[in-house]
């Protein structure tokens, strides 16, 4: 049993306490709400809170627990990135007490969804307790959470630093003991990178593994929902609750969902783990490389065979991503037209209303990506940019497939740097984009990946990334879990949590 404060323990630990009736879901929920009350405003983690609904859900969970209901997430307080719609209207279109959805954008300020996301529905069915919606980069576009229209999130390890992004609020909430798990979305690293920068565990499942229904769309061929938690085992439980086919998302794949927790044997002996040389490149902080190399050494010590591998097109990943993602975004964000919902400039002329609504409602990074995507798709440039990027995507995916035919999983850094100061990169989009250099190739190939803490560099968390074969989240989680048990970083918590 851990000596950590209750609120900083894992789902597995507090779940045992819940099932033994040594603690109630109401106590956990009140505890999280107190932490949020104490640190939430300073860290700017939440955009909306539903304390009354959370406490009511906790009481329902406590009644089920008293009847020996043993679902793993029953009564566990959690948070949703404010990119998942939460039902906030009843059938007649009146507010039902549910939470608003902003996607971190002024253009959706005050939006109340008439329907629930698949993620909200499935976690409700699992008995988890929704606390609120977390801050994020506008439309999930960013690597620092500084692109939120509602202000940056602060890193609980050092409040002068960014928590990473775009799911920065979810990462910081889990790191700071404000929620036992949280959901994020990962289009180019937006779960794994903030997990790495906040010392949490964050997973991006295979594209198609979890329904995207009710996830505000950014880049539809890359977006995937994923959990933040404090252990690989906890991530396995959340993934198990979310995974599976949903007819409302035609890209969600109808393939069996294994019992992920049952695959966490702690054994990696005899496994082949690849280390791609292209992921240790110029621009990487030496201490980050040291921690990641040490992490690889831990797995070797457990009996895994470490193999150097090559993914030669890694260098093209960034350029490929920054054509495909903005192109898809420019199409997806066409829906914000000032007519159907959201902000409207109220101009008398139709075209003028589009220009002013979108000019007023979108922030700088979103405008940049809409421009980049529109440019790449526009007449005369389509072949040179978009088609070219799709061809390079084929190469990147083929290289991963080839390497993963020979090794069971790939080990890499999550990010080339530790968390950086708020404001350090806001004026340099390209420098900001480089934060995702190690994570975005995984989205391009649609593969599962996880970031687990592998120590501190100058007091700031470093993440080890584990990448697996499509739909083989089980192996990724197994390696992550074995690493955690051996490495001794599973109880790293920021000062805000320990206080």
């Amino acid at each position: 049993m851990s000596n950590l404060p209750l609120l900083d323990r894992t789902i597995a630990e507090v779940g045992d306490l819940l099932r033994r009736r040594e603690v109630s879901s109401r106590e956990l929920t009140e505890g999280c709400l107190e932490r949020i009350g104490r640190d939430g405003e300073r860290l700017n983690t939440f955009l909306a809170l539903g304390p009354d609904a959370a406490l009511a859900a906790a009481d329902v969970a406590d009644r089920a627990l008293s009847e020996s209901d043993d679902r793993p997430l029953l009564g566990i307080p959690y948070a949703l990135k404010d990119i998942f719609v939460t039902r906030a209207l009843d059938h007649e279109g009146r507010p039902n007490g549910g939470l608003p959805t902003t996607a971190g954008s002024r253009i959706l300020e005050g939006y109340r969804s008439p329907y629930a996301s698949s993620a909200e529905e499935r976690l409700e069915a699992a008995g988890a307790v929704l606390l609120g919606k977390t801050n994020c980069d506008e439309f999930a576009m960013g690597a620092s959470n500084e692109n939120s229209a509602f202000g940056p999130v602060r890193n609980p390890w050092d409040e002068a630093l960014v928590p990473g992004g775009s799911s920065g609020g979810s990462a910081a909430a889990v790191a700071a003991g404000q929620a036992f798990f949280a959901l994020g979305t990962d289009t180019g690293g937006s779960v794994r990178q903030p997990a790495g920068l906040t010392g949490t565990v964050g997973m991006k499942p295979t594209y198609g593994r979890i329904s995207r229904y009710g996830m505000v769309a950014f880049a539809s061929s890359l977006d995937q929902c994923g959990p933040f938690a404090r252990s690989a085992r906890d991530c396995a439980q959340v993934l198990g609750a979310l995974a599976g086919h949903d007819p409302r998302d035609s890209t969600s794949v109808d393939t069996p969902v294994p019992d992920y927790a049952a695959q966490l044997s702690g054994e990696v002996k005899g496994m082949r783990l690849g280390v791609p040389r292209e992921y240790f490149v110029a621009g990487m902080e030496p201490e980050v490389e040291e921690r990641v190399r040490a992490g690889i050494g831990v797995l070797e010590g457990l009996g895994a065979k470490i193999v150097e591998v090559s993914l030669p097109s890694t260098d093209s990943g960034l350029a490929t991503y920054y054509i495909i993602a903005p192109a898809e975004a420019s199409a997806n964000l066409a829906r914000y037209d000032g007519v159907k919902y959201g902000l409207s400039a109220g101009a008398d002329d139709g075209l003028e209303n589009y220009f002013r609504t979108r000019g007023d409602g979108f922030g700088a990074e979103v405008k940049r990506r809409i421009m980049l995507g529109t440019y790449a798709l526009s007449a005369g440039y389509y072949d040179a940019y978009y088609l070219k990027a799709q061809q390079v995507r084929t190469l990147i995916k083929a290289e991963f497939d080839q390497v993963l035919a020979d090794v069971d999983a790939i080990l890499a850094p999550t990010s080339p740097t530790v968390a950086f100061p708020i404001g350090a990169k806001v004026d340099d989009p390209l420098a900001m984009y480089l934060n995702d250099a190690c994570t975005l190739p995984v989205n391009i190939a649609g593969l599962p990946g996880i970031s687990v803490p592998c120590g501190l560099a100058e007091g700031k968390p470093v993440g080890l990334q584990i990448i697996g074969r499509a739909f083989d989240e089980g192996t990724v989680l197994r390696v992550a879990d074995a690493y955690e048990r051996a490495a001794g970083f599973s109880e790293l918590r920021p000062p805000t949590a320990r206080a």
Binding site: D349, G350, Y375, Y385, R393, T394
Partner: protein, 111 residues
């Protein structure tokens, strides 16, 4: 009311022109201030320059990948199901008239 500027001869290399930025903003129905256009010109040029490295990748024998999972033409039975009520669907409308969305003038009189 704005009309998209005439297409300028753009170039994949080097700086994109201010007119090109205005043209793309018009295509995207994005109202930008003069200052935003200036900044966009510099920033987009730098990003496009970085992206241009893809030209050096040999893709002569490679087909495009639009999505990575082996799914095609996912169909479902065409059966009626309960959906959103009209009131719920219209509840977020900036301007509404009864059961309709109210839109600004699209075709002004006399055109």
């Amino acid at each position: 009311m704005r009309t998209p500027p005439q297409r300028m001869a753009g170039t994949i290399n080097g700086m994109i022109s201010r007119e090109e930025v205005e043209h793309v903003a018009a295509l995207a129905r994005l109202g930008l201030t003069g200052e935003e256009i200036d900044r966009m010109q510099t920033q987009l040029s730098r990003i496009l320059e970085a992206i241009a490295q893809l030209r050096d990748v040999d893709t002569s024998q490679v087909g495009p990948t639009a999505q990575v999972i082996a799914l095609e033409n996912v169909m479902r039975d065409d059966v009626a199901r309960p959906g959103l009520s009209r009131d719920a669907a219209l509840a977020n409308a900036p301007q509404r008239e009864g059961s309709l969305l109210r839109v600004p003038t699209v075709l002004p009189e006399g055109r």
